[in-house]
Every structure is written in structure tokens, then in C-alpha cells.
Symmetry: C2
Subunit: 337 residues, 2 copies
Amino acid sequence: MISEKKEYIRLIDGEGGRATSRLIEDVFVRRFRNEFLAPLGDAAIADFHGARIAFTTDAFVVEPRIFPGGDIGKLAVCGTVNDLAAAGAKPLMLSAAFVLEEGFDRTELAGFTESMALAAKEAGVPIACGDTKVVHRGKADGVFITTSGIGEVVPTCAPTAGMILPGDIIAVSGDIARHAASIVAIREGLHTDPQIESDCSPLWGMVEGALEAVPEIHAMRDPTRGGLGGVLTELAAQSRSRFIVEESTIPISQQVANICDLYGYDPLFMACEGRMVFIFPEIFRDELLGAVGANPYGKGIAVIGRVEAGEGVVIETKSGGRRLLVEPEGAPLPRIC
Amino acid sequence: MISEKKEYIRLIDGEGGRATSRLIEDVFVRRFRNEFLAPLGDAAIADFHGARIAFTTDAFVVEPRIFPGGDIGKLAVCGTVNDLAAAGAKPLMLSAAFVLEEGFDRTELAGFTESMALAAKEAGVPIACGDTKVVHRGKADGVFITTSGIGEVVPTCAPTAGMILPGDIIAVSGDIARHAASIVAIREGLHTDPQIESDCSPLWGMVEGALEAVPEIHAMRDPTRGGLGGVLTELAAQSRSRFIVEESTIPISQQVANICDLYGYDPLFMACEGRMVFIFPEIFRDELLGAVGANPYGKGIAVIGRVEAGEGVVIETKSGGRRLLVEPEGAPLPRIC
């Protein structure tokens, strides 16, 4: 038994910032260490009979369970489909495990399974196995859903942070921070017109198109918990390179920007649930933007930066300054997904 | 949207009896219906590049989290390894998703991950990916762990209920009801000497030996929630055959039998977490008993019955009578796993 300081789990440990990274490193990776966990991507990849399998899991505890643009069921399917997509893997099968609180409304549960079935159908993947547990009233919060997924990595594709090179450019498939902003708006009882909708959507089709057009994509990552900023700082560190990001080119809706201003959130660290970050050689700029932009979920794609030798993520601000992007301990947004 | 009567989730819906089966059928299978879910075994099986992949998931909410013979971490790994084993699949990778309650002791969590790492090592399978979410104090009960697993089905093996034939015999790899009895003893503050230990253990090694000795095994199933009785009634129904079970041959320890008597539980419907039911042609009796009995977890193997044409599970009682085994709505044992 490795000794551990007496410490307690805090909300911030689950918010996808540095606190989460430390918890994962200290409590899990240190004990589970193996060749698959090491790359710490969104999915584990294993060779299997001449092909490659991607495997991933996510627990969903979002509160409220229903939000504009989705619900916990849709989110649970999209989250896992998108983690597979980020690994360049076509989703083959999903699993779904439910922890239900005694007294939870069966009709509401049925609505979530309906959402799951619809999202899975759109992504072309069956929900192939599952489990259900019930705990006493007050011992869970309605419903928690854990989905796992297996997929087949496209043969020509191996996007990992290690392939990122100076000269690459960085694009994001649409406006950021939308999912988190939609949750904040509901929690704060804010009535905007139009309502801010979460970007929650299954991205395999969009990614498949991108990989067909540009097999040379060097890295993909979906900026969920921890946001675009979290993905960029992580990929810059893993690839030992410097990312230069031009703030004015980062797509964000005025409504979302206003909500962030109002409540003091940095949109760079707020979750998306239907966006993908692509890092790839600049010569493929037109091909990638064309392929992603042709997909309904990729219409807002924008190039936001470039890769250089060095380290860290540098933001070129709208006012012409430069600042180093520092990942916070956690975004103050528990249960965003 | 399919309309649903206004109903609420009850504890009994999670106890692995008929209520659980109905919930799964009404709320999940009806919406997720696909070729993989249809057989409703412990794992989904898919063809992949000339081989077969098994995929399974389970959520663990056991209370208390630590019990004689194991803890929620060991249980989470064994449960998924054993579901793969029951599908004839060598475990390749596991995933682990944690829902943590704010304020949960990090040292206790580290102990569970230590248990997971040990059990995974014994089963020869890496914990390849994971996720962690934190919810507010009072919105979960310490820690819930969902594990999923993928495995490769042994080429010579395809045990499914459909292969069961009259003339087959039924064996169980050791004494039953031990896991549930150990949980009951703790909950009731019962001090027995020796303490009743859960049978919680990873069974892939035992099953691998059995499949090498007898490739013709027709069905395997681990009798967890719902117990031996649940597995037998399910397999009899799925195979459209009649199982004759001789009560006196069912292995059960005196201590466990006493606890069941004391609290009015039927041991036939109490969970095991380290046992496997084998159904196979009688001519392989010696080979199977020899192979399973050679494994430390299979020393208590016993033949308990036979398959005939007909339907239902018939118990030949110790007093010479016959009764039809009827699966209860649920065992009154919430959060047993």
C-alpha cells in the first residue's frame, strides 16, 4: 500500500483542470500504470488481429439533467462517440450503465434512453450492453450514466500529441463554451432570446470526413470539461511544442461571451460537447476546412493558431499583447457533464 | 416518444429479479434494440477482423464498500472480468469510471484503486482508460465505480443459452450465496467465527482451463445478482428446456445456510461473485470437473443437475419432493454489488 496524505475529494477535483490531473495521476495512473494508460489520450488503443481498437469511458452526472440542446442521455452517447472520434476511431459498440436513485421518475428515465437511442442511431453505433443499479433515496441524484465505447481506428490515422510539429496549424470546428454557457444560463435562471443551446452532438461523421480529406491530421481532441484552453495546454505539453493562438480568431457567440463576462468565467476553459480541435500541417488548410465545413456540425470551423518550437500556449490578445495561458486548478463549474 | 405509465424506480428494480428484467425490457431494450442486445447474455459479441470481441459493463454501488474477502474496487474488476469469462472471452482491457462524493476520503479511494490494480493484475488485464466525476456532498454515496471490459472470445468457444441440449449436465464451481451472506453478516453486525468471506475473485484463469479441457461447453454464466436461481431460470427459459436440480447436491457452507435461515433468505437467489455455472454434455463430466477443480477458485465444483426436454427449473428437494423454482420479484438485498 502506497501511503497517501489524509485528504478529501473536493468539487474542484472533478472540474477538468490541474486538480483533476493531479487526482488522476496520484490515485489512478500511479497504480494502474500500463502501456495503454501512458499516452493519456481520450481513448486507449490496442492492436487486435491486424487492426486497432480504441476503448474509452465517461461518467455523466450533469445537473440539470435536461438543458437546451440536449439531456444527460444525449450527452452520454455524444461524449463517448466523440472520444472515439478524437482517437480516429469509427464507433462499433457502446455500453451504458445506470445508477438510479429510488423514487426517480421512470418516464423521465425513458426519455433519456430515447435520447440515447436517437444519438446512437445518428452516430451509427448500437448500444450493445448495459447495467442498472438502484440505490436508496438520497444516495444518488436521480440518475448517473456511464457509457463506454469501442471503435476501430481508421487504418491511415494515428493522431496523437506526439505527432504535432512546428508548422502545424490549429483549428476548432465551431464556436466554443456553448455547452457550459447553456448550463450556466439555466442554473442562474437567465432567460436569453434566443435561448443558448448546448452544442452537444455526435461528431464521428464530421471526423470521418476530415480524415478522408486529410489523413495527415496530427492530433484531434474534443474540448469538453476543461474547455479549449485545457486541450491546448495539454497538447502543447505532451508534444513539447509552443502553440501561438490569436484570440480574435477564436469563434465565440456574442451571447456566450456576454454570459462569461457577466459571471466572470473564462470561455477558454468552459466545456464544449460538440466541437473538435484539429492540429495538422498548414498545407492541408483548405482541404480540412472544406471537409469539416461541409458537415452540419463543422460550419463554424476556424483556424485559431499555429505550432512553433518552444513550450506553453501563448495567447495573442485582441489588444495586441501576449499572455501565457495557464490552466486553472478547475473551472468553478461542477457537474457540467 | 413511447408513452410510459407514471411509475417510479423502486429498490426492487435493481435487485436482479423479475422486476429488474422488466425494467430492462421496458425502458432499455425496447429503445436500444439491436442485434447485440438481443441475446441478453453477460456480454455483447461482435465479429472483428476474423475474431470475436466481447464487450460488457457493470456499475458497482455495494454497501458497505469494504467486506470480508474484498471491497468495491476488487468487486468492480472481478465482476467485469467474470462477465467476459462467462462469454468465453480472455479479458484484453478494462475501463473504470468513478463517481465520487465531495468529501470522500482520498486514502480510502486509493485503497480501492490498489485493490483494482491487484485484481486486474491477477486476471492479466490492464485498466486501460478511465474517468472521474465529483458531485456535491449528499448527491452520491462515497464512490460508485463502473467498469467495462473488452475481451477476445476463444475461437473454439461459443457458449450461449441456445446451445443447451437435453442430456447436458449442470455444475457450479463452488459453494453458493457466499458474497451476499458476507454482506448480510456485516449489515446485521453479526460476528461469526470464522468470519464469512465473500467469494469475490477473478475467474478467467479457471474458465480458460475449463475451455481448454472441454471446448464443447454449451453455456457459462456467473451467478451474481439474482444468484444461482436467477441464472438457472434465465438459462432454462432462453434454451427452452427443463432443468432438474437436486437440492442436496448444491454446495453451500453451513455458516451461509445458517445466515439464510436466520434472516429468511433463499440462498438460491443470493449473489455469488466468484462462481461460474457450467452446462455441458455429460460425457465431458470428468474432464470439466478435473480442469475446474485444479484451479484454486474451482475446488468446490459440484454437479447439481441435468437438462431435459420441457420447461422451467425443477428442484428435487432433500425431502424427496419436487417444486418449480420461481424467480422472485427481487431479493430484498439492495446494493449487494
